[in-house]
Symmetry: C2
């Protein structure tokens, strides 16, 4: 069928065309079906949307993506015929029907996700099906290798190590301390991190206070070749791009499928050629993993998948029941990190970082079992970790001589004080994160929360519990109001939750 | 946040706005999240899409649907803030997690589907979740009543009867014979039918050969008040609109969830106030229900749901292993129907229609058990059914005096002949449908297939098996080619399928 193009300047990251209902019927295609479009030497397959009124019979609505692919001018005629679905759609159906997919079937799905060949209905169904029916270990391995194959990869040679945290703990910024310690010990650690989605800061947001974090793949190679390490935002490097597209679909319904979590983490480690990977799994009320049982099961799966991929994985199950460190929000966390590297400040953040770094040193066989923590301590106390961090900051375009006090925090602040005398019984990660976000983090780097107390501390009436730093006075008021409702820090009472 | 509108003339049946990535971050919303948009006295909630380039920071892309709702002019400023998800999204998640939903939760989802409040990701997840996890009888009842409440309803008083066929059998056009018979017996049967989606003709397509089928709700009321019956296309009457939106999502992946099939059928029956409903469940290779076991289970569910909705349901499990009647395709089927009403023509179509009509007469207590078939025969042979059909055709704007031979069929035709001598062992519904569609049906009403033989008939070498009527010579060639490959009619051989 020959149809006259009508151009719409809309970009949807997918080749979509709009047909009049009548023409769609003539072609025998339906919404989310596919047509082949031919124009001069160009031929592409596009996904169909239909309309009664917007596009007339004899016309075809062409969005920007299709326009760019076939270079058709508005008003020109294109040849349109119905096209069959990609084979991956059959494999998605197979997954929905409870069957197990083999490697080539999963590759076919991941390939079509990467290349935007699936309609949003098909992609959503795939993600939902995986969430409900789950994946076998073999399927997760296939998901991982397929995600790696369909994205960029970097080879940094031998002894490449990495760490990953499952997340959910406010202020838990160990990466920026672990990376310089293990790099100072001679290991290669090309760390790609995420930005915050629902938290007050991701490692990439915090690192951005000190340097740039957005680099192309060649720049990353240069930085890591010089320093043995980097701390960058993973989003710019295009490792495992299918993963990012899947996450966009998971987000609206919070579909945190375990099979996908596993493949998402492992694909990014595999793409940078990791040999040894340490996974931090915080457990506790308010963190992502609620029970030690679930954490142990997740850990066993990580290790088994690592084994099948040729990566040595070790998992640490950590206490995720309350925030780590004092600062929450990019600037305040960056201050904490520099303080720890200067052998000051937050002792819990320092301790956790040393445990992680020590474990990584042992895992990579840089040091004998049982001696990693001591080695990490020595590297930190000697100032070698700080020197390494300065090198990384400089290579990433920041000021290596920056001091904690140079980092600006907002002057719109308010101290929340204790209304009781007693011990701090409980600090709620989710509430603290929510208050810090309300105050403006991570968008406004100088906003966030500074904790004056930790669990177990004794406080008197009116002792400061934490300070809120907000981006403006309205946000400060909002954040203070939330504190009244949520009671993020419980003093004295042994009640940790009230069921109503 | 105040943003300058940029207008895109695209209609998507959903309030969607496009934000620049940076503004979206500032607002704390993600793809498929929601914002409230205020302009003068108008305030609406819209679903967010994001872009890096298409819309600049400080701008908001407004599609036609939003434009129509808030009447904003391009370039004007609107006030935008993040909005929470509708509660129904939580209930969808609950379903994905394997829980059972209560009536109010299901109503909330169906309400939001009807009113386009869900993003396509959310709607796809709901449909996929229902497909995988299934529904309890109570949930299906809630789906049904919710679909009815969110659509139009018509009350035709007492003794309203209806019939429905699960489909999948070529040529099975009993509705147009059953309706005039039972209406002639004094029952009210306001029949809404579908158009073909994947078959060579739906009842609405075939009826359209004889009269119009597209009427508003007031016109339907008038027709049924005069004739006690109608045979119209259901799509125009807006009964259970959520159902149509769900079907659009089911189609690309062929997600024929039983729970949804049940609620889809029953909602449409309930919306026209049916008291007695007969369901025809054809079983056999190539029809939608493959085994008698599955058919019996489906039947029991239909009856149980009917019981809970106050509708008397009876199900007939019928032989769906080969086509019914001789004609396949709108015009050829319409000829069959008129022939049967004139007491001629396809004996199998007549017999099946009399069985169905007889059962409906008994179900509605118009006649004693065991006497329905005789009553239906009398009505048909007396010409009362034909008179009733003429009345319906006239009320629906057609020519009541139309004769079978007045119905035009294409002159581009070809006779497929037997290559063997023997008995007809098997006629494949799916192959026959596929050939008829290739020939141009249902889009071209005069295209289709005429069967010269039925299962069990003895044929000699070169005896005609069926004639293909195509819309043009190219389609005729295509259809003939398919016959060579598919072998839709098997003669002599007892092999009914070859596994390769």
């Amino acid at each position: 069928m020959r149809l006259k193009t009508r151009f719409y300047e809309i970009e949807v990251d997918k080749p979509i065309v709009i047909l009049n209902d009548e023409d769609a019927k003539d072609l025998g295609v339906f919404v989310s079906g596919r047509v082949k479009i031919k124009y001069n030497e160009h031929e592409i397959t596009a996904i169909v949307d239909t309309t009664e009124t917007l596009v007339r019979e004899g016309e075809i609505g062409v969005l920007k993506d299709v326009h760019d692919l076939i270079k058709v001018d508005a008003g020109d005629y294109v040849e349109v015929r119905s096209a069959s679905k990609p084979a991956s759609v059959e494999f998605i159906k197979k997954k929905l029907d409870g069957h197990t997919l083999d490697e080539s079937e999963i590759y076919s799905i991941i390939y079509d996700i990467t290349n935007n060949n699936l309609s949003s209905i098909e992609l959503s169904s795939f993600v939902t099906g995986g969430y409900i029916n789950g994946y076998t270990i073999e399927e997760i391995v296939s998901l991982t290798t397929s995600m790696v194959k369909t994205g960029k990869q970097i080879d940094f040679g031998d002894d490449v190590v990495d760490k990953h945290c499952i997340g959910g703990v406010a202020g838990n910024r160990t990466t920026m301390i672990v990376v310089p310690i293990v790099a100072a010990a001679g290991l290669t650690i090309p760390k790609t991190s995420s930005r915050a989605i629902t938290s007050p800061s991701g490692t990439a947001d915090t690192m951005e206070v000190l340097s740039s974090v957005q680099f192309g793949i060649d720049e990353v190679r240069e930085i890591v070749n010089s320093a043995g390490a980097c701390i960058i935002w993973g989003g710019a490097v295009n490792l495992a791009p299918a993963d990012d597209k899947i996450i966009r679909v998971e987000y609206p319904l919070s579909l945190d499928a375990e099979g996908h979590l596993l493949s998402s983490v492992m694909a990014k480690k595999m793409a940078i050629g990791s040999d040894y990977v340490l996974i931090d799994i915080p457990v506790g009320k308010g963190s992502k993993i609620a029970t030690p049982d679930r954490a142990r099961k997740l850990a066993r799966n990580f290790i088994e998948i690592g084994c099948k991929l040729g990566i040595s994985v070790e998992c640490l199950i950590t206490d995720g029941s309350s925030p780590i460190g004092a600062g929450i929000g990019p600037a305040l966390e960056a201050r904490d990190v520099l303080n720890v590297l200067n052998n000051k400040g937050p002792i819990d953040l320092m301790n956790k970082s040393l445990d992680l770094a020590g474990t990584l040193l042992e895992l990579s066989k840089r040091v004998d079992k049982g001696k990693g923590r001591k080695m990490a301590e020595n590297i930190l106390s000697s100032g070698k970790a700080l020197d390494k961090m300065k090198q990384i900051i400089e290579l990433q375009g920041g000021d290596p001589e920056i001091k904690p006090r140079d980092i600006e925090v907002s002057d719109k602040k308010h101290v929340i004080k204790s209304k009781h005398k007693g011990k701090v019984r409980f600090i709620d990660n989710k509430c603290i994160s929510s208050i810090a976000r309300t105050a403006g983090a991570p968008r406004i780097k100088s906003a966030g929360i500074y904790m004056h107390v930790g669990v177990g501390d004794s406080v008197r009436l009116d002792d400061p519990l934490f300070t809120i730093y907000a981006s403006d006075n309205n946000k400060l008021d909002d954040a203070i109001n939330i504190c009244e409702k949520l009671i993020p820090v419980r003093v004295g009472s042994v009640i940790s939750d009230i069921i109503t």
